[in-house]
Amino acid sequence: MHGSKIPIWFFIGVLLLIYGGMTFCYGIYEWQTGSYPPLVQLTQLHAPVWWGGVLGLLGLFYVVKFRPGRAGK
């Protein structure tokens, strides 16, 4: 993105990293304690763990690649 110091992709990366981290950590807690929400289906697939992991890794990639000091390189 021209003309701005922080690219939009960096903002997206930060948000995905935070969301991915929160969801992943909660998923691990859920898995370890077995405290699954009663009405939610397919909890045995541990979706918060892998979906949170995917979002977090995607966020990390964007944060590193589009970090402000590196923008425009």
Partner: protein
Amino acid sequence: MFGTIPAAIAGSLGTLPALLAFSAEPLAHLRALDIAIIAIYFGMVIWIGVYLKGQSNTSEEFFMAGREMTAWIAGLSFVSANLGSLELMGWAGSAYQYGILATHWYWIGAIPAMVFLGLVMMPFYYVCKTHSVPGYLDLRYGRAASSVAAISFAIEMILMSGVNMFAMAVVMKVVLGWDISFSIIVSSVAVALYVGLGGLRSAIFNEVLQFVLIWGGALLVPILGMIQAGGVTGLKKQIMHNMQTMTGSGVSGDSYFHMWRDLGHFSANPMGVHWTGIVFGLGFVISFGYWTTDFLVVQRVLAAHNLRAARLAPIIASFFKMATPFIVILPGLLGLVLLQNADGSRRQLVGEDVVASCSMTGDGAVADVAGCKVAMAKTSLTPDAQQKVLAGGPDAELHSYNQALPLMMVRYLGPGLLGLGITALIAGFMSGMAGNVSAFSTVWTYDIYKALINKRGSDSHYVLVGRLSIMIGVAVSIGAAYLVMHAHGIMDYVQALFSIFIAPLLAAILFGMFWTRATKLAGFIGLLTGIIFSASLFMWVKLVPSALANVALSPDAKPMAENVFRALWAFIFSAVVIVVTSLLTKARPIAELDGLVYGATKLPKEDPVPWYKSEYTWALLVIVLFAGLNILFW
């Protein structure tokens, strides 16, 4: 913003206010983690607005984002401004009702028009350096036609924004139990802040962010749903089985999987439409009208940093538009077989009017038993299911088609993931509303205030007017939201505005851009009389429902068919008026049409690029994919 075909789902969403009578428990309860996710989202969008304020000081920066956007950013913003949360829920509900036919609104109702905008129309919008679609009409036809378009567009944007705001607040009340005023005030203040501070640049930045969140929050539902349904084969098998016990309308369950096969007659498909309406009404008039002339979306592409980026942006967007049924249509279809009541029986969804008729009192009993019986008699609910509702008690309440997507979210998303899903819905709503107010601000400032009220203001004065118009626009939208809350009937009329304006506008733009002979008077009269004609058709059907058979040319036509055929007739009417008036009046000299009309414009030569970076390569790919998907789901 309702997206491609606002009026098409007006029939279902127009009854949303009836849900205010709904007193059942909310569908979901958020935990602290979910609330934290939503709060972080609001913090992020406002941070972006504050950060970009320093880069939105001139009118070019504030209204056109400095014309600095790359093709990817402009393209994602282009498709995101259209991806409102009501569209997500409305079309998931339509897929539940009509099956895969609802996909037409994403494919033939969008892809050809987006490619046409990129390859054919964008050069004219871009070369003439217009700031808006009414601005193009001003250059081509003069102030009168431009003013008609600008004033009608501004009114439409602000009222639509209010209606959507209210509808979203109702959804939040039903799904989460949130107070109506809380939802309206919090979301609208956030939008006013970030668009008011950072202008179009902030709106575009946030739309790209919202696009990612919508996919990140909604994609998991069809993935988990398909796993549970046993893949495509399992889904088809179960829908076929369920349809045998459900429809009773003479339409086979198999029709839910075919996009074209059963469009030969109105009564052969669940939507009650004919292929001529889909191809000419939807695929041409409504789709081209929305994607190529609605300033809400075109503004995003005008912000591109060069002509090639402006041409590539809609083509990039078309790939994502083509993929959207995966997070919208598929959850609706999955809802047909997977949604269950607490006792394991299949949960059947119904129209909002039926839900409202069967609303329950605080102790779990149906408030109006006789009214509920009458309403349910018109549905496909089994006698057992009807009896269960009338008996009342926990888990007896009905849910509407539009709740298909939230119900699927609640089914699969636990703490954290549910917060992401709800954030996706809120993000969808805010991206649509930001699109409305940023487009309103530009049209108000350039095409109404500057053109008709104060022609000699300084650049900073117009930026101030733009900022103020965003605040005032949001305030008027909030007023419109409360107006709808107290006078439900208005909602249908407001939602019809889009379909009333868009077809005459398309005729004026197409003849203006591709026919040098079209004259100023023809543009103005064609636009004005086309709007009157279209509004008359709408009112005719509204006052005399049986007139639907005349408008859609079949006694078997359903309301969905009315919208596409009304648009088609309005376009033809405007086109005839423009052609006849042009031939009777004096044409402008060709030299005056440079940069405005095909055949009178020398387009700038673009630097050569490798084939894989060419807009033509990507356009070809998207057309091949589009054709392949239609054949696959024929």
